[in-house]
């Protein structure tokens, strides 16, 4: 009766009154997450949350297991993108104005300096946390059991992160940018070192092509800056978004985060844990398999391991929010106190002495000082290939999700660490004290030095040692452990050595205070 009495206008007035509620209801289709069912649909029906499961294994939430490292890296990416957009407002990618516009950002623009600092440190932080995340994934054996390809995707992300950092410091057109452009172009040209010594350059001059590809000529000009800018703000970010999406998607599709087979809950877990129901529930134990599951053979979280889970809303989301807050706070505090460097305006006539790359490339720069081709192309390529192949060469599937796999794993990791520290320091000391082949045999062909230098010998030693470890322990996982530990240790030591102990003319000094004044 009432409805027929209602006039059109009062119906309209009612709609206006309820506007806020109907609008919010249309965005979030389910009501407040008060029961497990609505909590599940809050995650499931939300575009931004649905990449996560509605339930999360308790192990995933253990800070001691993931350490939140991958998530920190992702949040740093978000921070980098946001601050990068701010910088693009004032930055001008031209040889004449680039340096001035960065000075403008640093000195004049409101909050410009802190934006630039945030961009710089969050970008470098991505490298740090990417390495830490990679180490966590490696040491818990999380590249196994169906996650092999996602490890490779992670290596691609490592390369992209390095490329983004590199192209970033080429943009301000200061001394660092200019001479880094020269050096990177020459590294890209370094296949010439190989083709020259084989006498192939006449027929197959790939070095000159790749060098020109990067600079758009033979020396850094406005063409070079244009290309680097395009890569830094457009091509590489677009690629990294897609690859990050793929990385996250694969985590779910590969069966979620790894966990140890023998998982023990703690007393404190009982309050939030969802008890699996034997019938019904979100993951029924007697599920009828759909075509998809039959085709793939194995579907994550169906009919197994429903124990020890908690609702993602709110447990997982609170954890993630906390990581976001810490990441943001850490970046801001660090950026408030530490300023991103900016050197003098690019001077094509005077290279800096020493001309050092940012810290994350200094390990490579040390290898470069033995051979341009090996240090810049050969050995990094080999290292990346080796890292990418680890999951395919080590196929052992036991103790996935356990830190260092076993007691023996811990021992091998420690042993490899000690041995690599000793060997690499001994090698550096040898090269510093006695020089290398050319000092003893001035007429030696370049080809010999390209293939026999401290860098290649070290990599050869790592591979041999890892093969020995496989033979000794009968386990490929132990071999991979030895190789990975040695890779990390050599990255750290070479980086430290080149940062603190290499001075003008790339000569050895015990510390910066001993550098000659000039």
């Amino acid at each position: 009766m009432n409805e027929t009495d209602q006039t059109g206008l009062s119906k309209f007035a009612g709609n206006v009154k309820g506007l806020a509620n109907t609008f919010i209801g249309s965005v979030f289709r389910n009501g407040k997450p008060t029961s497990d069912k609505t909590r599940a649909s809050a995650v499931f029906n939300n575009f931004f949350l649905h990449i996560q499961g509605v339930k999360t294994h308790i192990n995933t939430l253990r800070p001691s297991y993931t350490l939140g490292l991958g998530l920190i890296t992702f949040f740093l990416l978000v921070i980098v993108v946001a601050s990068g957009v701010f910088l693009m407002v004032y930055y001008n990618p031209s040889v004449e104005n680039a340096y001035q516009s960065v000075k403008n950002i640093n000195q004049v623009v409101f909050a410009g300096k802190v934006s630039r600092n945030v961009h710089k440190w969050a970008g470098e932080g991505m490298i740090v946390f990417l390495f830490l995340h990679m180490a966590r994934v490696f040491f818990t054996g999380s590249y196994k059991a169906g996650r092999e390809f996602n490890w490779v995707v992670g290596i691609v992300l490592l390369v992209l992160t390095f490329a983004l950092n590199l192209s970033g410091y080429l943009l301000p057109w200061d001394q660092l940018s200019y001479w880094a452009l020269v050096i990177v172009a020459n590294i890209m040209q370094s296949p010439k070192e190989l083709t020259d010594s084989l006498g192939l350059t006449k027929y197959f001059d790939v070095g000159t092509y790749t060098g020109n590809l990067f600079l758009g000529g033979s020396i850094p000009t406005k063409e070079s800056l244009n290309r680097v800018y395009l890569f830094h703000v457009m091509v590489l970010p677009m690629v990294i978004y897609v690859v990050v999406g793929l990385h996250f998607w694969r985590i779910r599709k590969d069966g979620g985060m790894t966990k140890p087979d023998l998982f023990n809950t703690k007393a404190s877990d009982m309050g939030i844990m969802v008890q699996p129901k034997k019938s019904g529930g979100i993951f029924p134990t007697h599920k009828t398999y759909g075509l998809m599951e039959l085709a793939r053979g194995k579907t994550p979280a169906v009919d197994k391991d429903v124990e020890n889970t908690v609702m993602s809303w709110p447990n997982l989301l609170i954890a993630e929010l906390a990581v976001l807050m810490f990441t943001l706070a850490g970046t801001l505090i660090y950026s408030y106190y530490m300023d991103a460097p900016l050197k003098e305006f690019a001077n094509p006539l005077i290279p800096e002495n020493p001309a050092k790359a940012p810290w994350y490339f200094l390990g490579l720069q040390e290898l470069l000082s033995y051979s341009a081709f090996m240090g810049g192309t050969g050995l990094p390529g080999l290292a990346l290939l080796g890292l990418a192949l680890i999951p395919y060469l080590d196929r052992e599937q036991d103790n996935v999700g356990v830190w260092f796999t076993s007691k023996m794993g811990k021992r091998i990791a420690l042993e490899s660490m000690v041995i690599s520290i000793i060997v690499i320091i001994a090698m550096l000391a040898f090269a510093v004290n006695f020089g290398w082949l050319r000092n003893w045999f001035p007429e030696i062909p370049q080809l010999v030095i390209t293939f026999v230098n401290p860098g290649t010998i070290w990599v050869g030693f790592m591979m041999l040692w890892s093969l020995c470890t496989i033979r000794r322990t009968g386990s490929t996982r132990m071999g991979a452990m030895a190789l990975f530990v040695m890779f990390l240790v050599s990255y750290l030591i070479l980086t430290y050595f080149a940062t603190d102990m290499r001075g003008p003319n790339w000569d050895f000094y015990w510390s910066k205070s001993q550098w000659p004044i000039h």
Partner: protein
Amino acid sequence: MKNETQDKEGGVSRRDFLALSAFATAILAGLGIMAGVFRFFKSDAKYEESRSFKIGKPENFPVGTATKLADKKIFVFSDDNGIFAISCVCTHLGCLVYETETGFQCPCHGSKFNMAGKVVGGPAPRGLPWFEITQDIDGSLVVDTAREVPAGTKNRYS
């Protein structure tokens, strides 16, 4: 009954032949496009100075002098046997070398060269190139950094 498209000798059928041809054409077209893309990135216009330039009359380089033409990135030497030009761009990674008492030194990764530009230490894969010097009609010397001459090539000019 045998399919009429089938070759009598059991070779490739007409259907397979057409499919293979189409497939090969697609691959060739793809390769052509790839080649075009790679060629696209090789710029034809270069915003660079000419690699051949005049450095002045021979009288400007009396015997026993060493002149650094910093903006041209060369050293010009003059001794009893003649005048010669040596590059000051390190062959390792492109930094600029400077003169020392025994030759040249690169600040970036420590390459060392002797007075003739030959590598005596460090990572440089080859010696500093010597460039061709010619004399123009007006008497001034022309250095062409695109043309290398064997180390030790010295000529007198008047």
